[in-house]
Symmetry: C2
Subunit: 392 residues, 2 copies
């Protein structure tokens, strides 16, 4: 049954019964400004000790003047009587555990400030509704989604969005995204994350493609500050963690120097998401005592192999971002530096998406491995790459 959620303005409510079920309903009512009266033959739950309860048998005449009645006695004949007379007396009826005698159900609620969030399964599963309520209570916060007209001061967010999809996003990033009035995104931001942007948010794609920069970094910096000066809440969305090859410093510095203290939000780095996808732990006792995150691609599409000498010569797992286009160069450089071509490695791409791919091999396989996956890809090099817990 598809119910209609509403909130009732303060009503005069009569609760019949003073047992455990009644206590649950009473708690819910008392969190509102409704006026609650209680009639019961006896008190059967500690909640009612010290509260005003009229100790008597309920009679229909007692219902007069009330806008809602709750039968928490478990008396089914009473439920029938109350249901039959509800239009004549003009009350809304809730009979605990008897859905067919209910005008309304209670919901699992959480309140923060003015906010009241309620969850219902239309009677299907109260425990499921409560669990969902608890999940929501952890996320909502009074004021996060509110903005008063007076507070028209620009704000700058630099947000790490993780690798793909909502589950890899932090709650802080989600809250920030939901506040944005202007969002600067690039092509690495997934459709799922883009869909989270508020409907009235201005979305600008500043996406950089290699050799085909849509916007120069300086232009991006200027855009952020321009909109912040207009009093907007501006966010730059970055995949992974913004501090790793994310030009974070350029943007943070420019915003700060222009009077907007940037709020930086960490994200799950694609380096670690790649390891998770491959089942590789970059540190393993006795195998690898650290992880180096490097890039095969530096400014101006230049190939970078400053990390290649460390292969086999340090006890670290090397995680190379933007490695795909350079797999031939990486192999060539490894040969030249006499790095062992039997070093285990894994290539991963499209982490977290339906197209997620992981290919395992050794360095000499690099080119054929690259041919089997899409860009951009993360390359994991080192003994740990041979020890995936997904390949046991």
């Amino acid at each position: 049954m598809r119910v209609l959620p509403v909130v009732l303005t303060p009503k005069k409510i009569l609760l019949i019964g003073a047992g455990k079920a009644a206590a649950l309903k009473a708690r819910s009512v008392l969190e509102s400004d409704c006026e609650l009266c209680i009639i019961a033959r006896e008190i059967a739950d500690d909640f009612f000790v010290g509260r005003r309860v009229e100790l008597k048998s309920f009679e229909l005449a007692d219902a007069r003047g009330f806008e809602a009645l709750i039968n928490a006695t478990g008396d089914k004949r009473l439920s029938q009587t109350l249901w039959k007379n509800r239009r004549a007396y003009g009350y809304l009826l809730n009979c605990v555990d008897e859905p067919k005698f209910c005008d309304f159900y209670f919901t699992a609620n959480t309140r923060k400030g003015d906010l009241c969030v309620s969850v219902s399964t239309g009677g299907a599963s109260p425990s499921y509704a409560q669990a969902t309520r608890d999940l929501i209570a952890a996320v909502i916060e009074d004021g996060v989604c509110r903005r008063h007209e007076k507070e028209r001061k620009g704000e700058v967010y630099l947000i790490g969005c993780g690798t793909d999809g909502i589950d890899n996003l932090t709650i802080g990033a989600l809250k920030a995204i939901k506040r944005l009035e202007v969002a600067l995104i690039d092509n690495l931001i997934s459709a799922e994350i883009r869909d989270l942007l508020p409907k009235n948010c201005l979305v600008i794609n500043v996406g950089k493609r290699k050799n085909n920069h849509l916007l120069a970094q300086e232009e991006i910096n200027e855009l952020i500050v321009k909109y912040a000066r207009d009093g907007k809440i501006v966010g730059r969305l970055k995949s992974g963690d913004p501090s790793i090859f994310g030009r974070l410093r350029e943007e943070a510095e420019f915003a700060a120097l222009n009077g907007f203290t940037p709020r930086v939000i960490s994200g799950v780095s694609s380096a670690f998401a790649a390891c998770r996808a491959a089942g590789i732990t970059p540190t393993i006792r006795g195998v690898s005592s650290g992880a180096l995150i490097a890039s095969a691609h530096l400014r101006g599409a230049r190939f970078n192999d400053d990390w290649i000498n460390l292969i086999g010569k340090t006890p670290y797992t090397i995680i190379v971002l933007m490695a795909h286009s350079f797999s031939a160069e990486i192999l060539k450089s490894a040969k030249r530096r006499e790095v062992s071509l039997q070093t285990p490695c894994a290539f991963t791409s499209k982490i977290g998406s339906i197209d997620e791919t992981v290919v395992f091999g050794v360095l000499s396989d690099l080119e054929s491995m690259a041919a089997r996956i899409a860009k951009p890809a993360v390359l994991i090099i080192g003994e740990c790459a041979a020890l995936s817990y997904k390949r046991l």
Copy 2:
């Protein structure tokens, strides 16, 4: 005003008016199994084109037989009349934008499967309620919080919880935590995260203190599998990202070999959270082309300095976890290896908490820096440490 959220079982509802405001209410009602009739003098919104609308002036007699009435005409005199007669006719009343003539308000709703979540601000700010609804819609998922009795198969989660607090937690981690029946935690898991565990979840502290292991790794592995065998949803909560010095492989391997494919959830690594707290970007074009995450502490409380030779000799920022207890040894080792003691560095601790501390300096200051912060601490070494965007 503190309202009482409820859900109405299917009602016969009369909507008066066929303009924009009426369309909003009609949409909400039509998402439920309520029966909706519409009376209006004329159609003033496209929503009503092709729908059954009785074109006439409303008269009080039309209200007969309806359990709820919505006045979306904007006619204030009509609102007064409807309010006066509501008990006599036995309907609940909602007059759009006239809170004093409302028995109930509509809420901002989102539905997934059986779940219906509604948000209200008690009339204070519908747009705020809608924004909060959108935030919630991104997080809830049908089935996440539900578990049928039939599905009593054990599950194993290995969950990265980020550094501190809820905002640094991923949405995937939150959903997993909310499902747990058994949680294995340690002392690095903050009270805020512990509070997220379901009320009936069994919580076991397996926290390792240096020299005072509460439980050996093998015992932790056994515990995880024991509870999974009992059909429980078991979670091992780890701070930061579980793949970085988190003994992830041991636990994942043991679970997998015992028939429980572990679900690994990435987290925000404390290495990057430390950088964010300090305003340090570990990669900066022309300054640092990578980040090495290492540890000063290896098995058996042994000091590890396999990374110290890289200072000044590679273009990487070095992020050293568990560095606090070893600051004297680090300094000694740096002197012995003739590392420049003028290399910039920053010590950070209690990231994300109210006691968050960041101390800047150069390597020669290491001991006095350590004296000013609490354990555990993250040490960031390299030229980037002198370029904090928080110190402009």
